[in-house]
Symmetry: C3
Subunit: 152 residues, 3 copies
């Protein structure tokens, strides 16, 4: 029998996991390193896959974002939707969500990206963070002939 | 007077309906037929409208996805947002959400689609599923000159 | 100590704020003025910024949408995601969400827009609405060579 307390906690957990997937986007796109790093456990693994590779622990993730990804993008916007969460015991959960991304790489070329994030979330001392994020890309392609710029 | 139990159930219902709209995308795009079919009641109606038509019951919906839509798309990604839900009694609800889709049709042409889904959800024996989904398309157009592909 | 009642209310508040961000899109894109206006307090401020400007109170917001924005767009679709909410006391909250938009301006040119909305929500007599929405645009650019149209 599930108590009201447990049902309430399940909803709060869901919101906490949704917030992690949102903070990934806000942190990455707005170049807010503290917000971006706060979603990952110290020993987290970020499996971006080709062409970027895999990155481990805060040191590896910080390296990926500071030295590889932010330099590769002049401007990016990520939109996460379709989050589905399933519990893996009281302090672990799996998630899958889809992300659309559009922006300019550092060469000025507009790009469109579609990907799926497969997440392992864990709760430690009451806080949920990402323990592992694996990325599958459906496309990552130049928007040939298109220039993306903010209005003046 | 609404009790805490009723308020909790209303939140859980909302999450269940959100999950149905997410599973539509995951099931369709990742070609997971079981996940896709599980969102529809056996007697559900899927009104896609032009150019595809309308499809009834699991047999019709399975036909649409297996024989028409998956063959028509080489790769698709759907992003559902803006879900608004309103109750139609204790075991029925209406929903409206927007979907952006980008992918390649089977001829290799990149496409962009914007649509709205108008859903009728019903709860039977404690489970929510879609009884009717009506689609309105704002655009369905080729991304001329653009090739969408995954990184190698 | 947070009671179950307070935790439930926090979840309901979050859903109410999410609904406001969704109704912005549904109201604007489907040209439902009542739905669009219902998200704003009478004294709300809408800081769209360049090239559109800032608009105050229902009169100003109605003017912006009826006289400037709807005439500027032949067809638009907005997709809001990544909503993050933080409380500013019992009856106020801040939100940040991202929006992707694609559509045709009134000259028939397809456009792509990426923006972030920074919202101040307030609750008055039990109802949450937007008191201030500030827009930051990452891009607003023509999709050169692309024609967006609904299927016939």
């Amino acid at each position: 029998m599930t108590t009201m307390e447990q049902r309430l906690e399940a909803l709060e957990t869901r919101m906490a996991l949704q917030d992690l997937t949102s903070d990934y986007c806000h942190g990455f796109d707005k170049r807010d390193l503290d917000r971006f790093m706060a979603i990952w456990w110290e020993d987290a693994v970020w499996e971006i896959g080709p062409p970027f590779g895999n990155f481990e622990a805060h040191a590896g993730i910080r390296h990926a974002v500071l030295d590889i990804l932010w330099p590769a993008w002049a401007m990016s916007t990520h939109y996460t939707t379709n989050l589905r969460v399933s519990p893996d015991g009281p302090d672990a959960a799996s998630g899958v969500c889809d992300v659309y991304c559009i922006g300019n790489t550092s060469d000025g070329q507009a790009q469109t990206v579609a990907a799926t994030y497969f997440d392992s979330f864990t709760r430690r001392e009451g806080t949920w963070k990402i323990a592992r994020r694996r990325v599958t890309m459906q496309h990552f392609s130049p928007l040939v002939g298109i220039t993306l710029a903010a209005p003046q």
